[in-house]
């Protein structure tokens, strides 16, 4: 959450609660939201690292609030983040590892693994459909996030099909 918070501060100074609200509004309900505690802890760390600096602002009827702004080092960190391409989808895959090592264990078989995984993905897809329906249709960012997750899941399901195809062919050869 460090870099998204820094990037939000590149828009202008803000305090912790404003940042949390901005994230919520931007990402919608589908994205797992940080709680306010995590936001404050992260801001504390960023300040200690010299990426942001805080300033207490007195409020008449409430406790002081601390407003943060980016330092030059913080701005550089955000620039470097934007500059770097994001990791490609995983090559390391825990399910694939299970599939690879299952034969011969006598504890499960590959078709059972595939079926279980497919059910899991289909249920996840169903949850995403519901989130998409519940999310504000005009929140394009949130909708795109859900759509991206769905496309990833579809790819995972297609890949399960490929695994199954290969296994069936192996069985028929035996």
């Amino acid at each position: 959450m460090r870099l998204p918070l820094l990037a939000l501060l590149a828009r202008g100074p803000a305090h912790g609660y404003e940042l949390k609200q901005a994230l919520e509004k931007l990402l919608g309900a589908a994205y797992p939201q940080p709680n306010i505690g995590q936001v404050y802890v992260t801001l504390g760390r960023l300040e200690k690292a010299g990426l942001i600096e805080g300033e207490d602002i007195a409020q008449s009827s409430r406790p002081n609030k601390r407003t943060y702004q980016l330092t030059d080092a913080g701005r550089e960190a955000v620039a470097a983040w934007f500059d770097e391409p994001t990791d490609e989808p995983r090559v390391r895959d825990e399910f694939f590892m299970k599939l690879a090592v299952a034969p011969g264990t006598g504890m499960t078989d590959q078709v059972a693994l595939i079926n279980k995984q497919r059910r899991h993905y289909l249920n996840a897809m169903r949850d995403l459909s519901r989130l998409a329906a519940a999310e504000d249709r005009d929140n394009r960012v949130a909708q795109l996030l859900i759509e991206g997750a769905m496309l990833h899941l579809q790819a995972d399901l297609d890949w399960l099909e490929r695994c199954q195809e290969e296994l069936e062919q192996l069985e028929e050869l035996e």
Partner: protein, 270 residues
């Protein structure tokens, strides 16, 4: 119309009268062979057993060539099985002639296809009313039912359009109205969103879910997991056989599910 009518016919056919307890579809050991262009026989459906209860929304999914469309066509009488038996609401139907299947489809099975299959030179209204008239409704009943469905499907004002003047999503909604005009007990859908964009897909899924919520039994074939996940039960077909038959999770909030599939999928890096 036709609950008594139906049961009457079911009894005539020697079957058990349909009630809420009778499965809408039962299939036993269905086999269907296809021939390739070279003439080699290929088993498209290789021994499928299936039972679909009233009110279920079932998706049949699997890679292309797995036999899912063939299976659906067997259930709708569009193909004849090489062996195996089929009951529709307790009535044995696999032995039916083509003409009897045609009557069955008119009255009790609605079908929606990937490419809509509307009659292009008829208006939307006529496309929907025609099967009602063929099934014996009076013109007035057909008109009323058509108006009700088109309103329900958001197609008011399109009555006099021809299919070619409509978007894909709209055409599929007309096809849905046509499939439902006779209050079919079984709705079959073969890749209903297969030629629609994502907006059209959403619309059709929303409508299918709505009719399902009202008690419509639906069996749809799709390779699209998004579409499949609208169903309550997903049957995975592979190489002509059922390899998995899974009930999807119930109504609870997504986050209540252990394992956090959604959050896991949505988690950003960094």
């Amino acid at each position: 119309m036709s609950r008594e009518h139906r049961e009457g016919r079911a009894a005539d056919g020697g079957g058990i009268p349909a009630d809420a307890e009778t499965p809408v579809v039962v299939a036993e050991a269905l086999v269907k062979m296809h021939r390739t262009e070279a003439g080699t026989p290929v088993k498209a459906v290789r021994g499928v057993d299936l039972r679909i209860e009233r009110g279920e929304f079932v998706a049949i999914t699997g890679p292309s060539g797995a036999g899912k469309s063939t299976l659906l066509h067997l259930l709708g009488g569009l193909h004849t099985p090489d062996s195996g038996r089929i009951w529709l609401e307790g009535e044995r139907v696999d032995t039916y002639s083509e003409a009897r299947w045609a009557v069955l489809r008119r009255r009790r099975i609605g079908i929606v296809f990937q490419f809509f299959n509307l009659i292009s030179h008829l208006t939307v209204a006529d496309n929907v009313e025609l099967p009602a008239l063929l099934a014996g409704s009076t013109p007035r009943q057909a008109r009323d039912r058509r108006a009700e469905l088109l309103a329900d499907l958001g197609l008011e004002g399109k009555e006099n359009s021809t299919p070619g003047e409509l978007s894909g999503g709209e055409q599929q909604r007309v096809a849905l109205a046509r499939a439902l005009v006779n209050r079919s007990s079984l709705l079959l859908a073969d890749e209903p969103a297969g030629s629609l964009d994502s907006k059209g897909t959403r619309e059709v899924l929303k409508l299918l879910s709505r009719y399902h919520a009202r008690g419509q039994t639906i069996v749809l074939v799709t390779h699209d997991a998004r579409v499949a996940s609208a169903a309550d039960r997903v049957i995975s077909l592979f190489d002509g056989r059922i390899v998995d038959d899974a009930a999807l999770g119930g109504g609870g909030a997504p986050s209540s599910r252990p394992g956090g599939g959604v959050s896991g999928t949505l988690e950003l890096k960094g």
